[in-house]
């Protein structure tokens, strides 16, 4: 399949890229291309211009700074997978990365692209909701920080302006007794989620849940925060009764559609089961035995 014609630019700096985006409203940013190029081949996307970020140096960092894990726009999924820092301190992110697509796609795909694409089937949006992450948008007038709850605005829609680049993802560094986990049901490697659940939490000194974030993948027009489930668990001991209750809320509050991956009732039940498993795993990890 051959994409429609387009003009190609591969600027060497972010300001140059922004200038190109500003003067070409029909331009599209290209990062890993693992979502955009397939769309262009199907001609579901026909941008007049491609602004390829891959020639911009220094955007592939993964580092902790000032209480945040900061991930540059060109850090590939495979680099997250190979990072000891991510594996040891950010198990929810690590789980999620491993569940995205397949190893070859991950050599190219970026976390920033996964969020900017805002496909409800993408795995990272729910995880970023659970982390209460934020993203940095860089545009003509500099940087602005967008809280993740304000970032996703429906199917394939985000708070980014057409001349803004998602330049960095920021995840809060975990406090003591933190744990997280991502559970995804997929039909085979490389498939999008039938449903997925991301949980990040921390326990207080007495073992009660202090803070908790729960995000749901592919059971709505965008990644969903399971707010009632979070509220139900905050301040409680993570015992079976409360976990089951929270999972029941997630089952009720998600908004799945029937498709080839399953019917509505099946998906709701799946959300319930995955929510229980993800909370249990996150709690085990917070206790240091996950």
């Amino acid at each position: 399949m051959i994409p429609a014609q387009f003009q190609y630019a591969a600027p060497a700096s972010i300001p140059d890229a922004i200038a190109l985006l500003k003067s070409n409203p029909d331009a599209k940013i290209l990062s890993g291309g693992q979502s955009l190029i397939p769309l262009m081949k199907f001609r579901l996307a026909q941008p007049a211009m491609i602004v390829d970020l891959n020639n911009i140096g220094g955007l592939d960092y993964i580092r902790e700074q000032g209480g945040w894990l900061k991930i540059g726009a060109l850090a590939r999924e495979s680099e997250l997978e190979d990072s000891a820092l991510v594996r040891e301190k950010y198990p929810l992110l690590y789980d999620t990365t491993l569940s995205v697509a397949d190893p070859i796609v991950r050599n190219r795909a970026t976390l920033a692209g996964n969020l900017a694409h805002a496909d409800p089937a993408n795995d990272h949006p729910a995880t970023m909701l659970a982390y209460r992450a934020q993203v940095v948008a860089t545009g003509t007038s500099g940087n602005r920080t967008i809280a993740i709850d304000d970032f996703f605005q429906g199917l394939f829609a985000t708070a980014l302006a057409s001349d803004e680049i998602l330049s960095e993802v920021q995840i809060p560094a975990p406090v003591a007794r933190s744990g997280g986990a991502y559970f995804k049901m997929e039909r085979k490697v490389g498939d999008f989620a039938t449903a997925g659940v991301a949980v990040q939490l921390n326990l207080d000194a007495s073992g009660k849940i202090e803070q908790i974030g729960i995000g749901l993948t592919n059971v709505g027009l965008q990644a969903l925060r399971a707010k009632r489930s979070e509220d139900a668990l905050r301040g409680e001991m993570p015992d079976a009764k409360w976990i089951e209750r929270a999972a029941m809320f997630a089952q009720e509050d998600c908004e799945p559609n029937a498709d080839l991956r399953g019917g509505v009732e099946y998906k709701r039940n799946l959300v319930r089961v995955l929510t229980m498993r993800a909370i249990e795993k996150a709690v085990a990890r917070a206790r240091g035995n996950g």
Partner: protein, 158 residues
């Protein structure tokens, strides 16, 4: 646009449209038809090549993005007429039937064995999970990769 891409140690220059996919540059401009197009939708891995040593699906990258980069295709595996260990492995262990997936399987495996020279069976299966084979059932492919790993370890230990 003018691009120059080094494929298997040889430079290929051409004037191409930005929309030309890397796999088509390799097959049609460089006439190296060992790289296959299977699904054309980023799913099967038949088109996998190494870009600066990293496996990539060449149906999901534009040729202009490979400008100035070094690519290895299946034609670049054998050296001086001698099969590479991974090729020998696929031959000895019957790691192919129709052979359509084989170039991609081998290139993925070559990069993987460089990172992980002594893999477990599970690690091999995980590493090739982006390459689909419709014929073999994977058992012999895994054995072929294990064969190559052993062969390379022997060569190293002299």
């Amino acid at each position: 646009m003018n691009v120059t891409i080094n494929i298997n140690g040889k430079e290929y220059s051409d004037d191409v449209e930005p929309r030309l996919l890397l796999v088509h540059f390799i097959r049609e401009n460089a006439n190296l038809t060992g790289t296959h197009v299977g699904c054309d939708t980023t799913s099967c891995g038949a088109c996998t090549v190494l870009v600066d040593g990293v496996p990539m699906k060449s149906c999901t990258m534009f040729a202009v993005q490979a400008n100035g980069k070094s690519i290895t295709t299946v034609e670049g595996l054998a050296q001086n007429g001698k099969l590479a260990p991974i090729q020998e492995g696929f031959h000895e262990k019957h790691g192919l039937q129709c052979g359509f997936c084989t170039p991609g399987m081998m290139l993925t495996s070559v990069a993987f064995l460089k990172k992980n020279p002594h893999p477990s069976e599970e690690e091999i299966r995980w590493a090739i999970s982006g390459n689909l084979c419709r014929c073999t059932g994977y058992v012999n492919i895994v054995e072929a990769v294990q064969y190559a790993a052993e062969k390379m370890a022997e060569a190293q230990n002299g």
